[in-house]
Symmetry: C2
Subunit: 325 residues, 2 copies
């Protein structure tokens, strides 16, 4: 796939998984003849997911590609839940769940890795590792995120939640239908608010116990039914750090395919400054000066503190705050 | 419930269902003793939903309340899927699905209405009618939206989508658990982008065939897995009206409990002006001058054209555009 530079630089496109060059062809998904013709076109390509892990093929050394011809994809095993991702000017792109019955799991260096025995030309590599290592280009990472979120939803929705009977894929992978009760089911995307509370020249960062040593990041949490974005931002900061905030400013968004979140990034004006950390959520939270955040972003913090990785929208919220204020 | 004025006027709080005074107590949902004590407290109140329709009790004439004591709620029938919505300083609020086996459906004036025979003191009124007519106060409408979205999700998720077995309510109504395969399921909220394309002093409005006569509104569509908010805005305007847009500006958001959307309202800068309407989505779309939109908002459009109702975020996007630009 050719690299596709963003036409309109927005902060959302600076995030990991945020660039995706495909025309999703959503109005053609219910046209089986059209979709079949794309499936038969020799230039079409397919991304493969095993459970929640992308399949990469080795080009040479540490150069990888995430796209297979449909013939090569079928040669790897049975394809389930084939979905049309979209197309560029050159070709259409599909994604499918590759049957996992041939896959073996191995422990090495304390990590669990999946492998397809006898196929040393392909590797099963989790999407975070692919994105962190830049194993494929940014637009392909966006495409893999789209594929992973969509196919993992299929994997977890093979039965109708209304009546319990098996459901079937429809609309080129963008719907499931229940033959028993006729219910329709659509892929889910879970909105998450992620934000910095701002008190004049200071912003609020916290750390979860699972974070890498020295890393501080934005607070975050799932938006709930019945909430506005602004209400969810106020609730999460109050719950996790005991700080009240007033006005909320949207900055950027990011698809976060673990498994299918939409990160909605905001700055929020603090009305109170006393922090009460909720220990089930955070191991620490405190106010950081602009100088300290700049030092973290420039990897020269005297205490060795680090921001989140540039793949994550939290990094770009920290950048937006030091640039905008 | 006492009226709770918004502390921080933001445009999101001007939308229907956008004001909700409850502390959701999300960190206490897994504490059954705490939740049980709230259930037993005589000051606690409960909202009731039958299928997707709220139950109101008549106070006098056309004055209604949507809240029941727990004793009064139980007297109406079996309660399923009891959920803790949250609390104010005065009391806790719950919601439950009322068993629908006693409910009868009647046709009148071409509309289908639900009724509980023998209980003329209560009425089953759909949430749009409640909100349009202001039958209860704004904070109670927000609470009913929260209740309806959450309980309708339970109604449609009584079976595990992973394995097909019956699942069970947990976490005071904010999770379902599958005893067979141990899968956890959380309420869904579906992000929808809704936007005006803006070309200098003109904005793009369209009408769907189902709209009331003369009404024009913002374009809208579901955000998909793998998209940023900005990408979804660009895709939807291109798909529905054939117009390309560049920069996207977030304005406000709204919970839209039909059944559980999050409306994300934006303005988007047009790069092209030729409109190609997608007939499966819209029956018309065209550019409107500022003067024309002001006339629509002030109910004095010479052609009788109307904006969407102030309950809908589209109305507030039109206001934001004429006020901001």
């Amino acid at each position: 796939m050719k690299s596709c530079p963003p036409l309109f630089p927005d902060r959302s496109q600076a995030t990991g998984y945020g660039v995706n060059p495909l025309d999703r062809l959503s109005e053609r998904r219910d046209d089986p003849a059209f979709v079949d013709a794309l499936m038969r076109a020799p230039e079409s390509r397919m991304a493969l997911i095993v459970r929640d892990t992308p399949v990469l093929r080795r080009l040479s050394g540490e150069r990888w590609d995430c796209l297979f011809t449909l013939e090569a994809a079928r040669a790897l095993g049975d394809l389930r839940e084939v979905a049309l991702l979209g197309r560029t000017d050159e070709r259409a792109f599909f994604a499918a769940l590759l049957d996992d019955s041939q896959v073996v799991a191995e422990e090495s260096d304390g990590a669990r890795r999946l492998r397809l025995p006898g196929r040393e030309d392909v590797a099963l590599i989790d999407l975070r590792t692919i994105a962190m290592g830049g194993l494929v280009e940014a637009p392909a990472i966006g495409l893999l995120g789209q594929a992973k979120s969509l196919l993992y939803w299929h994997l977890r929705h093979r039965f109708c939640s209304v009546c319990g009977q098996p459901s079937e894929l429809a609309a080129a992978g963008w719907r499931r239908e229940c033959p028993a009760c006729q219910a329709l089911h659509f892929p889910r995307t879970d909105p998450v608010v992620i934000m910095l509370a701002v008190d004049g020249e200071r912003c609020l960062l916290g750390r979860q116990p699972r974070f890498n040593k020295g890393m501080y990041s934005a607070l975050a949490g799932f938006l709930e039914p019945g909430e506005t974005i602004e209400a969810a931002v106020r609730r999460e900061i109050r719950e996790e750090a005991g700080v009240s905030v007033g006005r909320v400013h949207y900055i950027a968004s990011q698809p976060w395919p673990f498994p299918s979140s939409l990160m909605i990034g905001c700055l929020a004006e603090a009305l109170t400054t006393t922090i009460v950390v909720e220990p089930s959520e955070l191991e620490d939270a405190r106010w950081f000066s602009r100088e300290e955040v700049v030092a973290m972003l420039e990897a020269r913090h005297p205490g060795g503190l680090k921001p989140s990785n540039p793949l994550a929208i939290a990094h770009h919220l920290m950048r937006a705050w030091v640039e905008l204020t």
